[in-house]
């Protein structure tokens, strides 16, 4: 029960952080960090994949609602939620840890968490930026935006992860 409350708090916290702080960061039009993706990253290891998809959908929907972009974030978060189990299955060492625990650098190591976060964020940003442009004109420009933003988002998620209380 306590854990459920924790997740609700981090959901609200990350969404507010995104809307109030990160949506206002517009460095040269190339860097748009979307740190709220972290919520999808930190859901428990043993969460059933269909629940994960529904939660991802809801997360994107809420962000869409408040930023006036209908479905763009929803599409990207569902994509990220679908990719997460695949990325997690790449690390066999995780099976030794408590199945209910949340993926973090404390249980999988910093290097692993960095790669895990970056992969899911990349999937999210790729679908987000290309769906937003809704065409492949300016393909490389969009790709550049994806790369820069992925790097910055991953950086912030990594920092936030280090700040999480160790259990």
């Amino acid at each position: 029960m306590n854990r459920g409350l924790n997740y609700i708090a981090s959901f609200v916290g990350l969404i507010l952080l995104q809307l109030l702080v990160f949506n206002n960061i517009q460095l040269s039009g190339y860097v748009n960090p979307y740190v709220y993706v972290m919520f999808i990253l930190i859901l428990p290891l043993n969460i059933p994949s269909w629940i994960l998809l529904l939660i991802s959908f809801m997360t994107g929907f809420v962000v869409d609602l408040f930023s006036g972009t209908f479905g763009v974030h929803t599409f990207a978060t569902v994509m990220a939620g679908f990719a997460r189990p695949w990325v997690l299955s790449l690390n066999v060492a995780l099976e030794a840890s408590d199945p209910g625990s949340s993926p973090s650098s404390h249980i999988g190591g910093r290097r692993w968490f960095m790669i895990y976060a970056m992969t899911v964020v990349l999937v999210h940003h790729l679908s987000l930026f290309y769906v937003e442009v809704f065409s492949f004109t300016g393909f490389f420009r969009t790709l550049l935006r994806v790369m820069f933003s992925t790097a910055v988002t991953t950086f912030f998620i990594f920092i936030f992860d280090l700040l999480r209380p160790r259990k």
Binding site: L19, L20, L53, D64, G68, F70, F82, E132
Partner: protein, 275 residues
Amino acid sequence: MRSLLNFLLRFKTLILFLILEAVALVMISSSHNYHQYVTFGAARTVSGFFANKLENGRSYFRLKQINQQLVTENQILRRQIEEMRLLPQAEFVTVTDTLRGSGYSYLSATVINNSVNKQKNFITLDRGSRHGVTTGMGVASAEGIAGVIVGVSRNYSVAMSLLNTDFRLSASISRNDYFGSLAWDGKNYRFAQLSEIPHHVAVTPGDTLVSSGYSAIFPEGLVIGTLTGEQKKGGDFVTLQVELSADFKKLTNVYIISNLSRDERDTIEAEVVNE
């Protein structure tokens, strides 16, 4: 039947994934209808509230710059007053024209949310239906045109920014009155593109681009930007690069412009077109 059920159970994640993505795509394709934006009024009131609080804090850091802009604008207006005073008195004939009214009216507003980094940018303003704002009104800052109101709630309104790939505006080159269609290509927030300009038009870098007044949203002659001289040929027309005079990253104080005779104009234009 059982094998079908087994199949569905086995691929339930994939099927759910496809359904959710389909829903998202339907949402995206329906969002091209901007009136949809209005139906989420409740959500906008909440985010508008937060944006307003945030803007209150942020504007303190820009007070000096905002003052500077206002002083510059005052200076221009004062100069115009002086110029008018110097005109021969005979030209000041007062005509009581009750039918035309005064043309356009201006309402000051503060930008409380704005972006320049998306393909479809919107500007949220702290004025709503309570202040008489309706959709289709123009938004301009002292420097230049900024957008058009597309959604109104009680206390807030949302304008489609000029930096929105769906934005179109009829604009003319003030030196020779040739007009074309202004749009943004979604690349650089400092530049927009003026298309449909015939080949033979001589373009000088630095020429001012103004609103043509054909759209009934903005009065004629409102500054939009200057031509950079860069041009792209395609078919019978050229597309010119325009440096926008308004810096959308610093947009703070704007005017909402309403055309007082718009209804009348729209009615007659619609009547003629329908025949």
